[in-house]
């Protein structure tokens, strides 16, 4: 009984803490701001405003925090009926990673506020994107050899996916260090492919040795496929992508985790279907690999549904 009371008190306290910033905001005219769709900023006001003030595109001026000289034109402002929410629309998609500064004129006094995504949300966004929206197997079509080779049984799929994720994260971190501190300073960018694949082989060799000692059963189950991790496009694609996009350390870890997790997810989904398919009456010409491709195509179609997803 006592513990539940305590929990409730703690919960209430936490709720209060959450509410405090909202109370502090109430003094201001603008009570909330966020990015809407990729070319929208949604502003919430603490009191209803007249459409002539808040609904006029000319009253707003928007720029990215980093370059105040480049003004982003607001093409249209839609004010909600109660006059408390204005949606600023832009002709081109905004770079929602950057912090934007919005200045408002004419509302009694000039008001200026900043719109940004939290960095944590941005990192999670990279993870979710690599996991679902840009799933390496189903929307980027990479790593298919290993994908079709090891998705026959669930156990193998799980083991392969987890090993792959570990190798992926380790080699991506090493690649990032090499790229940032050796390749870039010395202008050796043309060696990218050779260095990255060398690092991957090194990691694979290490995992091979460790796994052989720690879990011989799992090692036997993989057979040739641990070697084939080297022959998996995803493991090379991730270092190349992070070098192209100049990702920092945390972004790199998130991308690698997302890529590995996405591969694990794809393998697990596929192996579940293929186990059931063993029992299905498939035309003889399509038995085995061809039907697996068609199933993968259906998965790819389903993953297309994630394309508009944006959580943060």
């Amino acid at each position: 009984m006592k513990t539940t009371l305590m929990t409730r008190r703690v919960f209430l306290a936490a709720l209060l803490c959450l509410l405090v910033p909202a109370l502090a905001w109430a003094g201001n005219l603008v009570s909330g701001q966020r990015f809407g769709a990729n070319n929208e900023i949604v502003v919430t006001f603490s009191e209803p405003l007249a459409p002539a003030v808040a609904g006029e595109a000319a009253n707003y001026s928007v720029h990215e925090e980093a370059d105040p000289d480049i003004r982003l034109a607001v093409s249209e402002v839609v004010l909600s009926e109660d006059g408390r929410t204005a949606t600023l629309k832009f002709p081109a998609p905004l770079n929602t990673v950057k912090t934007h500064v919005v200045s408002m004129a004419g509302a009694g006094a000039a008001e200026s506020f900043r719109v940004s995504k939290s960095y944590f949300g941005y990192l999670l966004g990279i993870l979710i994107s690599a996991l679902l929206i840009n799933n390496f197997v189903f929307t980027k079509y990479l790593g298919l050899c290993v994908f079709f080779g090891t998705s026959k049984r669930k156990d193998t799929a799980k083991g392969m996916g987890i090993t792959f994720t570990i190798v992926m994260v380790a080699s991506a971190i090493m690649s990032w260090f090499f790229y940032q501190f050796i390749l870039k300073p010395f202008g050796l960018n043309f060696l990218q492919i050779v260095i990255f694949i060398g690092l991957v082989s090194l990691t694979v060799q290490a995992v091979d040795t460790v796994l052989r000692k720690v879990n011989p059963a799992l090692f036997n189950a993989f057979g040739v496929y641990l070697v084939l991790v080297i022959a998996n496009c995803v493991i090379l694609a991730v270092p190349l992508i992070l070098a192209d996009n100049e990702y920092n350390f945390f972004e790199t870890v998130m991308l690698a985790l997302g890529a590995g997790g996405g591969f694990l997810l794809a393998l697990y989904l596929m192996s579940s279907v293929r186990e059931r398919m063993e029992l299905a009456n498939v035309p003889r010409a399509f038995k085995g690999v061809p039907i697996a491709f068609i199933v993968a195509g259906q998965f790819a179609l389903a993953f297309l549904g994630f394309s508009g997803l944006s959580l943060f």
Partner: protein, 204 residues
């Protein structure tokens, strides 16, 4: 150990019996990812042919010097070197095609087919045999990609190599990215069916 096949047999073997895409089911990523047109398939096929032939020859020349324990990393680094060469050549001379191919040129390093041919063939055979085997495998890959590209371009856009052939677009579905999976699956099933029919006809 030398192979008992003639050079021509080696080439034909790569194109038909051991076609990398439809028979060995290796290097599926580009087959699904960028086989939307015949031209794409041809360009990537050329790059793979180049890398395969040169890596096969390199390994065949140095096969006695390579310690068996480190052979896989050696293969990988050899392939990576030749891929860097073709990557830079294409980026310099054919920037448009290179941009279309995107990351796939660099990813030739990770194509299972090349490593597998080095492991299965080039490290045991003479330089000449490896050369012809490389040609066969490269051409097999190229023809596989072009066949896929042909089907997808014809059914999706009604064109072949950019020229309008049909005058209408029968199934726009096939040009969409994910249709690569369906296309590969259907064509593989179709070839299996043809082969089964052929075998039965031969026996009867």
């Amino acid at each position: 150990m030398a192979t008992d096949k003639t050079n021509l047999q080696l080439v034909v073997n790569g194109i038909l019996n051991e076609n990398p895409i439809f028979r060995l089911v290796l290097s599926m990523c580009p087959a699904v990812g960028i086989s939307t047109t015949v031209m794409n398939g041809f360009m990537l096929g050329i790059a793979v042919l180049f890398v395969q032939v040169f890596s096969s020859c390199t390994i065949a020349i140095f096969k006695d010097k390579i310690h068996p324990r480190i052979r896989i990393p050696t293969y990988t680094l050899t392939i990576a070197t030749w891929v860097t060469v073709i990557d830079m050549v294409l980026a310099a001379y054919l920037p448009e095609a290179y941009a279309k191919m995107g990351i796939f040129i660099k990813l030739i390093v990770a194509f299972a087919i090349i490593t597998m041919r080095l492991e299965m063939f080039a490290c045991k055979e003479s330089v000449t045999a490896s050369f012809w085997d490389g040609i066969g495998m490269g051409l097999g890959f190229m023809f596989g990609m072009m066949a896929l590209g042909f089907v997808r371009e014809l059914l999706g856009l009604g064109t072949v190599l950019g020229y309008d052939v049909l005058g209408f677009k029968p199934l726009l579905f096939f040009i969409l990215p994910f249709a690569g999976f369906f296309c590969v699956g259907l064509m593989m099933g179709f070839f299996n069916y043809i082969e089964a029919r052929y075998r039965r006809a031969k026996r009867a």
